[in-house]
């Protein structure tokens, strides 16, 4: 069992959820999303995000608009769609359940003592 692989799988699983969460509050373009993900140490390299964003967009969870930038190529600003909003709400619910589940399992003694 490759520990790196397992870690990567864990991260990839929650990456979608995190991207949608970042876009919940404000629209953002790729570099901004990347900054947040990087500062949270969720991703190390940027490449991962591009196929993911396109996939989310194709699933109509995200939409984008073009915006001019000063001294660079135009930027794609991503925005949650209403389907994306619902999707995110559902993910939030199941994420909370998961958190509790994981806590219960990984700290069983604490729970028993409580």
């Amino acid at each position: 069992m490759n520990i790196e692989n397992t870690k990567a799988q864990m991260r990839k699983g929650i990456l979608e959820y995190c991207i949608l969460s970042i876009l919940k509050n404000k629209d953002a373009y790729v570099a901004e999303i990347l900054d947040e993900l990087k500062s949270a140490k969720l991703i190390v390299v940027e490449g991962t995000i591009y196929p993911l964003l396109t996939r989310l967009k194709n699933a109509e969870l995200l939409e984008y608009r073009w915006e001019e930038s000063t001294g660079g190529p135009p930027r794609k600003y991503y925005k949650l769609t209403s389907t994306g909003q619902k999707f995110l709400d559902e993910l939030s619910g199941s994420w909370k359940d998961l958190q509790i589940a994981v806590k219960t399992i990984t700290n069983p003694k604490q729970n028993n003592h409580e």
Partner: protein, 533 residues
């Protein structure tokens, strides 16, 4: 010192040095190969490129002008190795991705070629050393007294060359995954550096191989050029052929439509168009014409488009839906024509007739006189036009007027003259045909030695699409003299003998061997002398 190139990423111009360019290109190619199964690959690549452009711009601050290999390497560090681009939907994909063996495909291997790489490609495909393949070619060519070369040339033309890394891997049956692609790219580098560094025996033999190979490369290039020119020429002829075909078809169709508007000018008699089967099928003529038009036009249109593509290779791709819909339309029109054909053959399966005979009281001395009789209500002169039209009788009732009347003289077996008038139609069964035939109105009059025959028949207008007519057979003894009015000429089915004579219709005839033989003519015998008969 390093050469620099100008590149355009996401519509931004950058100066990049040559080595950095190679690294960047390989990186992007590797990502492309890695994302080969992704639907929106192009879009993803576009996004990645514009991010790379952004990162370049960030690094181009101060007086730095050129992107170096170090810059590219750092950007690759930021962006990640190609496998980082892989977002698998399920966890197993990561595993299966490496196991994913592709089927071996036959490509020409130009890297190891003497002539065209066919042998090397076959070697990979069959999993045997290329030397054996070449040996087999030579043996087969000798034993087949040379014609095996043809198969070689055919393979050369038909088998594509392995150009991309992915194709090269498929040629060898190695799975297209990143580590293999990277290996290949590395091999490419090693080959190049090897060529620069080492001067050894292997390199010399490689050199010789590449010299031969480059000669055949030239041959191949020339052959491709000739092929291109040939394709252009063929394309040009196809274009002219299909274009003219379409134009003439269009005019024909317009012509038919125009005739349809102005009444019944007979195109069948004019021999231009054979619509007999269609006319009597009970299907509207316009439908038959349109179906015929489409059935002929669509293949011509396809040939036209095809020839345009042959002439101008940069032509825009033709919409698939367009092709599918016109092919569907073509099939529909063919189906319509088949339906019309079947329908008409069913409608005209059998004939039925109503016969009326009348004896003629003639003595051998009499001369039988035949004359056609028109009706001013329907037509000016009693001519036969193969004409069928809906018109009105004296009481203003709709009626079908038809001039399909045939007159024929026959030998009477019992020395008595008589006339047989048959009204006939075609229908699905005989009863119906006979019923229809009984609806036909045809009149004639026997007045002493003279027969007056109507030049037309009348029928209820419902029979307009049916094949119908009147056959008149006049049976005469062998030596009965016959005189014909000139207006019978369109209706007569017997030949004259001689075919042309002076004042043809002033002469007296007798029936001889089913021909109307002129008995009062000055005719030429075989010697050419005029004789009086």
């Amino acid at each position: 010192m390093n050469k620099t190139l100008d590149i355009n990423i996401a519509n931004q111009i950058f100066h990049i040095d040559e080595n950095a360019y190679k690294v960047l290109k390989n990186y992007l190619d590797a990502i492309k190969s890695y994302l080969a199964n992704e639907n929106s690959r192009d879009e993803i690549i576009q996004d990645i490129e514009s991010r790379i452009a952004e990162l370049f711009i960030e690094r181009m601050i101060s007086d730095k002008q050129v992107i170096t290999s170090e810059d590219v390497k750092e950007i690759i560090k930021i962006m990640g190795e190609p496998q980082d681009y892989d977002i698998s939907e399920d966890e197993d994909t990561q595993q299966t991705h490496h196991k994913q063996y592709v089927d071996k495909k036959l490509y020409r291997d130009k890297e190891n070629s003497y002539i065209s790489g066919v042998s090397a490609g076959l070697g990979h495909y069959l999993g045997i050393d290329v030397v054996w393949v070449r040996l087999l070619w030579i043996l087969f060519t000798i034993f087949s007294t040379g014609w095996f070369i043809l198969i070689y040339v055919l393979l050369w033309i038909l088998v594509p060359e392995a150009r991309t890394t992915a194709e090269k891997l498929a040629m060898k049956g190695e799975p297209i995954n990143l580590s293999n692609i990277e290996k290949k790219i590395k091999e490419g580098y090693d080959n190049v550096s090897e060529k620069i560094k080492d001067v050894d025996v292997k390199k010399h033999s490689k050199q010789a191989q590449s010299n031969i190979s480059s000669f055949f490369n030239q041959v191949e290039k020339i052959a491709i050029k000739i092929g291109e020119v040939l394709i252009k020429i063929i394309g040009f002829f196809l274009l002219v052929f299909s274009g003219l075909g379409l134009i003439s078809l269009l005019f024909t169709a317009l012509g038919l439509g125009g005739v349809g508007l102005f009444g019944n000018i007979d195109l069948i008699e004019s021999g231009i168009i054979r619509l007999d089967g269609l006319i009597y099928s009970g299907v509207p003529t316009w439908l038959a014409i349109i179906a015929t038009f489409i059935a002929v036009a669509i293949p011509l249109i396809l040939v036209f488009i095809f020839s345009l593509k042959m002439l101008f290779s940069n032509l825009k791709r033709i919409n698939r839906t367009f092709i599918i819909s016109i092919v569907a339309l073509w099939i529909l029109s063919i189906a319509t024509l088949i339906f019309i054909g079947v329908n008409s053959s069913l409608r005209e399966r059998v004939s039925g007739e109503i016969v009326n005979t009348n004896s003629l009281n003639l003595t051998p001395q009499d001369t039988l006189f035949i004359k056609m009789r028109g009706n001013l209500d329907y037509t000016v002169t009693p001519f036969k036009h193969n004409e069928e039209k809906i018109t009105y009788d004296k009481n203003d009732n709709k009626i079908l007027y038809d001039s399909n009347v045939d007159v024929k003289f026959n030998h009477s077996s019992d020395q008595v003259a008589y006339i047989r008038v048959s009204k006939w139609t075609y229908a699905f069964d005989e009863n119906k045909a006979r019923n229809q035939a009984s609806l036909l109105t045809y009149n004639y009059e026997i007045d002493a030695n003279q027969i007056l025959l109507d030049s037309y028949l009348l029928s209820p207008p419902e029979l307009v699409d049916n094949y119908l007519g009147i056959d008149i057979d006049i049976y005469v003894p062998e030596d009965l003299k016959i005189k014909l009015n000139e207006n019978t000429k369109d209706f007569l089915e017997n030949y004259f003998h001689p075919i042309e004579s002076e004042n043809k219709f002033d002469q007296i005839y007798v029936l001889n061997d089913n021909k109307l033989s002129c008995s009062s003519c000055k005719i030429n015998d075989n010697t050419g002398n005029p004789i009086e008969q």
